[in-house]
Amino acid sequence: MSQKTNVLQKAGSFLFDNKVMIAFAAICVAAIVLSGSPMTFIVDGVFTRITRNTFTVLALIIPVLAGLGLNFGIVIGAVAAQIAVFCVVYWGFGGFSGMLLSVLIATPLAVLFGYLVGKLFNRMKGAEMIAGLILGYFADGLYQLLFLVIIGGIIPVNNPKLIISGGVGVKNTIDLTGNLKYAIDSVRMVDIVTVLFYVVLAITAIKVVLHLLKKYQLHKGDFILFGVVGLLFGISYIPVIERFLSTDRLGLLDALTAVLIVLAVVQIIKIVKSIWIDKKPAKNLVKPILALLGYGLIFGLTFIPEIENVLLFVKLPVLPFLLIAGLCWFNHKILSTRLGQNMRTVGQSQSVAMASGINVDQTRVIAMIISTVLASWGQLIFLQNIGTFSTYGAHTQIAQFAIAALLVGGASVQKATNKQAIIGVILFHTLFIVAPQAGKQLFDNAQIGEYFRVFVSYGVIALSLAMHAWKQFKKEVQPPTEGIDLGNSALSPMAEKQQILD
């Protein structure tokens, strides 16, 4: 009986905690049904948009945890990426090496920008979000100045493909076909495995050297990692597998199958471990077995023709998804370091962090640098996938949409996780894809659907900010009068200065 209420309570609090997400999922389902679009179209579109946008959304998580709120300043990371792309295209580089060059140019720029933004935010504590928003517009202005006036106007640039016919200013759109388009998407799996193998080989070698120098203690995990990657590299030479791996796209069905197999193997290892190694009672077996059954069920579902059709239709670019997975891993790992713990502390209370000897300002700046760099990489992934670089438009909505997506996933100004980011991207972009069609079906006007999705993206941010502010305001008690003796006299010159400035 008590267990039953417990379950009910849990279900209730789950519903309550995820109300934004659930409400949004309901809107999405309704819009999908209304639109009447085929599932192949929707799923394909959603996966394309996951490829493009997830990285940027994940870039928002660290500032949230470090107490900087939703980073409206990621626009600046995007600007860094776009400057890099322009340079690379202008210099005539392309393909994967061109992309690497873009990363090499964008990263130091983003580090610099992130550092400056972090410094600025430290001067405006408590107003980071509004400052970030305005800063985004301000940066857009400077960017336009650079691309419209300085390039061609002051720095002579001669390239009729890139420059407006008068010779001053960059064209509205830059076609990336033939240079950077699909530079990341089209990397073959074999190449990924090969590179991965050599990277792991090098890291392991360094570790062994450090170990021999007695500066590092090798442990089991290091060998397992090397073994798994080595095995993968080895089997990639088997002709059948080599043929399978020599494409750059992975069918969704194959991807799903692969993921299920890996998960199943993990569960089987758990079962084996608990029976033969730990010799624990069968209680520990319930979860793995249930999980295995679940995987089987999912795999079974893929044989339903409707679902199979969709799964066969959708092809995923492999490397972007690996990068997204890598970023999730990074977000997770960084939190288990000293830096991550410092960020969490600063995010919870700056005064306590300062009293505990944590360099609050530095931690915040590092968080901003990481976020800005990640945002710039995210923008590179976005641009290479979309294939045309809209010079003056590509970055303007990035913060807006990324933040809306994160919030839709159930995140708030103070809490965000990888899971929320991914769910958010899926829901938000599902709505983006189906809204115009739904609008057309419902009101006989596709534009209403388009405006509706814009409204939703603004509305969800407004709602979330208002709820956060409300919570903050309620938390705030009346200012204590205690300790005025010292506090007031110590502060008064500042207050006085403030008055004069006002």
Binding site: I203, I206, K207, L210, K215, Y216, S336, T337, R338, L339, G340, Q341, N342, R344, T345, Q348, S349, S351, V352, A353, A355, S356, G357, I358, I366, V477, Q478, P479, P480, T481, E482, G483, I484, D485, L486, N488, S489, A490, S492, P493, A495, E496, Q499, I500, D502
Partner: protein, 533 residues
């Protein structure tokens, strides 16, 4: 022998903006000793501790004079980090804990144990992996060492009883390696009686380990119960260092309070009046104010018409809450009667409409519109409540600039407000002149009862005298009942007809200005005279 002391602070002086808050103070603590630091509010205890911890507030205001020795060696402590390295720790009055973190995380805050990884070897120890098992063990050890077996090291701090939070704080200090000296700042103020006893026990336990303790408290009975020795400060001056064995409560109280009562007010004004218990101006019945940090918890008192009545007591005991409740800044319960009429304090401005005016203790925060002119500040209340200084054009009420100007000039002259003119911003005046503006605003209301809260806080001696004299004057000449709330006993004793000492949100005792120093000292500490004997 100097070096028998773990810490000796010699001849410490400190100035804040020309205001000397410490005048050659000495503080000496032996290892393993519980040393109490006692004194009234404003005696200089917090400043002394800020110096000990090298707080930025000290260095941003020009540093201090004097010398600090640790174990006989001269030490310069210029930031909290150095203090920590010297083995000095502090258990804060307001907890430095993060509620969302668990006990281990809080104990190890800022001192996490990291495990180097290949990355951190290259990029620095910020990328160390956190070693949580080791930290949990440390936290457990620290908790066990203060006898807190029942606090789980993995429990979240949010939702713990306040006492437990305090113990977590202590465990954090104990966990610091090389801790030699621990400062407890009013640790029992927020605890229940049982928790407080427990805390004193823990303090003894810690002292037995050879760690010295500086114990700051207003509760003299606790000092007698736990401390070995004490230093008494008064008005930023060193009074005495005594062993607890050689002193009693009454003597401590006397040393804390004792000072000559300056004549702050001209004698000619101090004529006696007819005060009658039948004519009551203000009455509190079971009056509660929910002001954080200054709660009033069931106050009963009658204030006679034409009286100057004082409320004294230590900070945090609730005297400040009395006025703030009537002003409508905080929720109140119980009954307040003005001239027999019950006030409905839930209605904004109720007291003002019943001829009660205030001067707030928080001049800059509550008392003034800092950015507005002197004129606006002085005329505001009367304009809003009594429709003065307005010309009526149909339904529109417009400012009557000429009238407001005239009145302001009168007030400037009357109270000797030093300013460039009626339009000078109140924020750019000196503290004393700001206080005069506050007073001018209150008397512009022409009140029957005037409540002034900390009327002389932070203002120079000349302004102080003028303000107090003026209060006496309107009391004598216009019969205004004055309720004065002040931390300055001298001030209360030089002016008031009766003084209520407030302790724990209630009136502890009502005293006459000429009662003895010891009596006042004990009342302030909340000790009955029979207990002290």
């Amino acid at each position: 022998m100097e070096d028998q002391y773990l810490l000796s602070m010699n001849n410490i002086s400190k100035e804040y903006y020309g205001n000397r808050v410490l005048k050659g103070v000495n503080l000496k603590v032996k290892p393993g000793e519980i040393h109490a630091l006692v004194g009234e509010n404003g005696a200089g205890k917090s400043t002394l501790m800020n110096i000990l911890f090298g707080m930025p507030v000290i260095y941003s205001t020009g540093g201090f004079e004097g010398e600090i020795q640790m174990s006989g060696e001269s030490t310069s402590i210029d930031c909290p980090h150095t203090a920590m390295n010297c083995g000095i720790g502090m258990v804060h009055q307001e907890f430095m804990l993060i509620p969302e973190f668990n006990v281990t995380e809080n104990i190890k805050l800022g001192r996490e144990i990291g495990e180097p990884t290949a990355f951190s070897k290259i990029f620095g120890n910020l990328l160390d992996k956190m070693n949580w098992p080791q930290m949990s063990r440390d936290a457990r050890k620290a908790l066990d060492s203060i006898g807190m077996m029942n606090i789980e090291e993995y429990a979240k701090v949010a939702g713990m009883p306040i006492g437990y939070k305090q113990f977590v704080e202590i465990a954090r200090e104990i966990d610091k390696t090389g801790i030699k000296l621990l400062v407890f700042d009013e640790p029992t103020a927020v605890l229940t009686e049982g928790e407080a006893d427990r805390l004193l026990e823990i303090m003894r336990l810690i002292a037995q380990k050879g760690i010295a303790i500086i114990f700051i408290t207003h509760r003299l009975t606790e000092v007698m119960a736990v401390a070995d020795s004490m230093t008494i400060l008064r008005d930023g001056e060193f009074v005495a260092r005594k062993d607890v064995k050689e002193i009693n409560l009454a003597r401590i109280a006397e040393l804390m309070i004792g000072r000559k009562v300056d004549k702050l007010v001209d004698d000619s004004l101090l004529r006696s009046r007819d005060l009658s218990d039948d004519k009551i101006a203000l009455e509190f019945k079971n009056y509660h104010v929910d002001m954080p940090g200054e709660r009033v918890k069931g106050m009963n008192i009658k204030i006679r018409e034409g009286e100057i009545f004082g409320f004294g007591g230590l900070a945090g005991q609730g005297k400040i809450g009395i006025a703030n409740g009537i002003m409508g800044l905080f929720d109140t319960q119980g009954d307040v009667y003005a001239f027999g009429k019950r006030l409905d304090l839930s209605k904004l401005g109720e007291a003002l409409r019943n001829d009660i005016a205030f001067v707030s203790e928080d001049r800059r925060g509550v008392g003034l519109l800092l950015g507005e002119s002197i004129e606006r500040n002085i005329t505001f209340s009367a304009m809003q409540i009594k429709d003065e200084f307005l010309t009526h054009i149909g339904p529109i009420k417009l400012l009557d600039k000429a009238k407001a100007d005239q009145h302001t000039r009168d007030m400037i002259k009357l109270l000797d407000i030093r300013c460039t003119g009626t339009s000078q911003a109140a924020g750019s005046l000196s503290g004393g002149n700001q206080q005069k503006v506050c007073l001018a605003r209150a008397i512009t209301m022409d009140p029957k009862i005037l409540i002034v809260s900390e009327p002389t806080r932070g203002i120079d001696i000349g302004a102080k005298k003028l303000v107090l004299e003026y209060l006496t004057k309107i009391n004598r000449e216009q019969g205004t009942t004055i309720v004065m709330i002040s931390s300055e006993l001298v001030e209360l004793r030089s002016l008031c007809d009766r003084i209520a000492i407030v302790s724990e949100g209630k009136v502890f005792s009502v005293m006459k200005p000429d009662d003895s120093d010891a009596a006042f000292g004990l009342a302030m500490a909340g000790v009955r005279e029979e207990e002290a004997a």
